[in-house]
């Protein structure tokens, strides 16, 4: 194995170990015989709503406002997803239509 290959492999292993450690850590800390502390159980119940809000912002974090092409495709497509989902409650429809709309906007309108 060359030095470059060894370097790449070790980097992949490190990134994998850290990512998986973060996934397993909460379960390692709070599982087992002791039972989940009341505060952690409460957090587990209220967090999903906040996390989904955080993930929406996370996906849109690279939006910029210096030109319309930086924000308009995302804004229009997100508005379409929200409207369709609130109206029809069909995730496949909302996600499909929103994605096609976004692809059209970035490839053909705001180029």
């Amino acid at each position: 194995m060359t030095d470059a290959a060894a370097f790449a492999l070790i980097t992949i292993v490190i990134c994998g170990l850290v990512t998986q450690a973060l996934r397993f850590l909460p379960f390692a800390l709070f599982s087992g015989g002791r039972g989940t502390p009341r505060y952690v159980a409460w957090l587990g119940k209220v967090l999903p709503y906040a996390i989904m809000g955080m993930l929406c912002v996370y996906c849109l974090r690279d939006v910029t406002f210096s030109a319309a092409s930086g924000w308009a495709p995302s804004a229009i497509a997100v508005a379409l997803v929200i409207a369709l989902q609130a109206w029809k409650h069909n995730s496949l429809l909302s996600i499909g239509a929103g994605t096609i709309c976004y692809m059209f906007l970035v490839q053909a309108v705001f180029v």
């Binding site: 992949i12 850290v18 990512t19 209220v46 999903p48 929406c56 690279d62 409650h89 496949l92 929103g98």
Partner: protein
């Protein structure tokens, strides 16, 4: 029993279709870039199996090509993947009693898988651990297929897939809308969006996740303490009944 299992397979598959679209095409993008940087199919598969996190895998390419030190790589991975702590905390009760499936469920808990399994939308009598396991497995298959396709056949994909990664954004937004309409108490959803936006403005797109997670935990705890004090009841007792 046989009928039940075909129902759970069908539900897991249908729910995972939006992720199929996103994972296959984002995976193709990952495979193409890896090959472009001189790393072939085995490197692609190693990253998929060892890391299995879309965002982290793309960052790993930059770490490798940029020649980052191992310490810098570990710190970067910590920053990028820290949000998985949140998913774990939120699924401790949900994955309780999953038995032999549990290690795989935790290993495969990506953003998108979390978005599907954190919901409480299964019909009466359907086993949630089987459902979560199938969703996790389907999603990882899509990811592996996409990454392998990108590595092996990236150059022959004729049509432009620019913007297809919006499928992931659309997935999170649609679930957010569902949660919004299903619950009366919007304090958690509003806290999530508000704190994230505030931290994004203050800390910028590269570094806002860790402050956001601390901020969300702090604000939600504060709201609960104020509410329970006003009603003179113990905090954290109700397990955060959002339908109250």
């Amino acid at each position: 029993m046989r009928r039940l299992s075909s129902e759970v397979i069908k539900k897991a598959f249908v729910d995972s279709i939006p992720i199929m679209a996103g994972y296959v095409f984002i995976g193709i993008g990952f495979g193409i870039i890896m090959v472009d940087k001189g790393m072939g199919i085995w490197w692609v598969l190693a990253a998929c199996v060892l890391i299995y996190s879309g965002a982290m895998q793309f960052v790993t390419i930059n770490l490798i090509t940029g020649g980052a030190s191992f310490v810098a790589s570990a710190v970067t991975a910590l920053m990028v993947s820290c949000r998985h702590l949140f998913y774990g905390i939120s699924m401790i009760d949900g994955y309780k009693g999953a038995g032999w499936k549990k290690p795989y469920l935790i290993y495969a808990l990506t953003d998108e898988t979390y978005a599907l399994v954190c919901r409480d939308n299964l019909p009466e009598g359907m086993d949630k651990h089987t459902y979560s396991f199938l969703v996790s497995l389907f999603n990882q298959c899509y990811w592996l297929i996409g990454c392998a396709l990108g590595a092996l056949a990236g150059s022959v994909i004729a049509f432009s897939t620019e913007g297809i990664d919006f499928a992931m954004t659309a997935l999170f937004v649609s679930i957010f809308v569902d949660q919004w309409t299903e619950t009366k108490d919007r304090s958690s959803a509003l806290t999530g969006v508000g704190v994230s936006l505030l931290c994004l403005i203050i800390f910028g797109p590269q570094h806002f996740l860790i402050p956001t997670m601390i901020g969300i935990t702090g604000v939600l705890t504060l709201i609960e303490l104020i509410r329970t004090k006003r009603r003179a009841i113990d905090p954290f007792e109700k397990g955060g009944d959002q339908n109250d």
